[in-house]
């Protein structure tokens, strides 16, 4: 692909802290290379802001190789920008052209309060995991790996669900701020495996109860989450979560 440089206008959401009123600010960013990642473009902008003695734009980032899920940016109305199946760090500037104006917002959800600028608090996801997204294992010697047989198809489906990196793009993309894709992936990865069976019922019920308590909206099956998920988690997981809920709700004695 041909390399080119471009001049961009960024409209970035600036917000001092959770309680402050936020607003958009515009920045001219000249000479952006098409080879840069979106985050590197922000690094260039922040270097300049620091040199000018101004407050740099706060944004989350960690691995910069598409597997940590930290880089939460809503770019031109799209979670992680216009490319499918990518995080913001894997979005490259060749997705844009010279003279573009790019609007960058934080994830918008009452359950993900803005910490500062583009950084949001995704602690609600952690609390959902704490409510049941685990398998209780007794300590002791590791068992032989082949003690419990797992069909290959189940292992593949569980692995596909386990690819969820908890980035929150599903919530950001959903018109209802629903966390169903996240919760369904975290329930599915265990519900599909024999090791997940003993706590199956309480897991589904407790995680859904926590999801509701955190104030996430409900799913209306629009499919926006699946379209935006950087790990391409399938809507079939949401159907599985619904089945888990029905089965557990109708039979759980507590």
């Amino acid at each position: 692909m041909e390399h080119y440089n471009m001049n961009l206008t960024l409209k970035v959401w600036r917000q001092k802290n959770t309680n402050a009123q936020g607003q958009f600010e515009s920045y001219q960013v000249p000479g952006v290379s098409s080879e840069m990642s979106f985050l590197e473009m922000f690094d260039v902008l922040n270097e300049r802001l620091i040199n000018e003695g101004k407050e740099p734009v706060a944004f989350d980032h960690d691995c910069r190789e598409g597997i940590c899920g930290a880089c939460s940016m809503h770019i031109n109305g799209r979670a992680h920008g216009p490319w499918a199946g990518t995080t913001t760090c894997q979005l490259h500037m060749r997705a844009f052209k010279d003279g573009d104006t790019i609007t960058v917002e934080p994830w918008r959800s009452g359950s993900f309060p803005v910490v500062k600028d583009l950084t949001v608090d995704r602690g609600a996801f952690d609390r959902i995991i704490e409510a049941g997204g685990y398998v209780s294992v007794n300590t002791g010697n590791a068992q032989d790996a082949n003690n419990i047989l797992v069909p290959k198809d189940d292992a593949d489906a569980a692995f596909a669900a386990a690819a969820c990196i908890g980035c929150g793009a599903c919530v950001a993309a959903c018109k209802n701020s629903s966390a169903m894709l996240f919760v369904s992936a975290k329930v599915s990865q265990l519900a599909l495996l024999p090791q997940g069976q003993p706590e199956k019922k309480s897991r589904a019920l407790n995680m859904i109860a926590q999801m509701d308590k955190e104030g996430f909206g409900s799913c209306t099956n629009t499919g926006a989450c699946e379209a935006e998920c950087p790990k391409e988690i399938s809507l079939t997981n949401i159907a599985r979560l619904n089945r888990e809920y029905i089965a557990a709700g109708l039979t759980y004695e507590k």
Binding site: G77, N221, I238, I246
Partner: protein, 228 residues
């Protein structure tokens, strides 16, 4: 888990919305089948006999009242969920993805449902209320005297504005069911590559197009016959 708890979570409420929605889908089939008698060229006999049967049979009366409760449960729970969903995003996005990530129909369920609810109220007042509690001209077939509902329908659909309201109502029904029918299956956890194509086909072509079209044709045909 108690029943009250089971139906009080977001998924529990959605299960009720989906179940009532599918029940209403089955109702529109029966309703359309009966209504098509309006297009029969027999001076209204078939339709009047059908209307009399529907308003006197005890079992049908029971189901008819159940139907009104089902509509209310469906609408109240769906609105409750909608308000909660709106509240889940207190600060809106400046830029939205539009149709890039989801279908237009799937995002208009509350609007189309509300249009439909208003239509149902108008429709019940127009015909159901008059059939049961209003004054209608009598008509007799072979000695048996019946209310001439057929005539009331013919008179109503001579008015262009009433025809337009009915067509708008059916556009609301169409757009609501294009997403609604298949969405209910996903809520029940019924998502399987082998059946998704069929569910989608029935949702879009039967419930989204064929049935609303069948309903909408009736007032349009009656109107054009009346101005001839």
């Amino acid at each position: 888990m108690k029943w009250s708890q089971f139906f009080n979570t977001s998924i529990g409420k959605k299960l009720l919305v989906g179940a009532t929605g599918l029940f209403l889908c089955s109702f529109v089939i029966v309703h359309l089948a009966g209504n098509l008698a309006l297009l029969k060229n027999d001076g209204g006999e078939a339709f009047n006999v059908y209307a009399a049967f529907m308003s006197h049979n005890a079992l049908i009366q029971f189901i008819a009242w159940g139907l009104k409760i089902v509509i209310l449960v469906h609408a109240i729970l769906a609105l409750q969920l909608t308000f909660r969903n709106r509240a889940a995003r207190p600060v809106k996005y400046a830029v939205n993805p539009g149709n890039q990530t989801s279908s237009w129909f799937s995002r208009q369920m509350a609007i189309m449902g509300s249009i439909l609810l208003i239509f149902i109220i108008i429709h019940l007042k127009d015909f159901w209320y008059r059939m049961h509690y209003g004054e209608l001209e009598p008509v007799s077939y072979g000695g048996e005297e019946l209310k001439n509902m057929y005539l009331a329908v013919q008179v109503a659909f001579r008015e262009l504005w009433i025809v337009i309201i009915y067509v708008i109502g059916m556009i609301g029904l169409s757009f609501h069911l294009v997403h609604g029918f298949k969405s209910a299956f996903q809520t029940f956890g019924l998502n399987h590559v082998k059946y998704n194509g069929l569910i989608n086909f029935v949702g879009v072509w039967i419930f989204g197009i064929l049935i609303p079209l069948g309903f909408a044709i009736i007032p349009v045909v009656i109107y054009f016959k009346s101005i001839q």
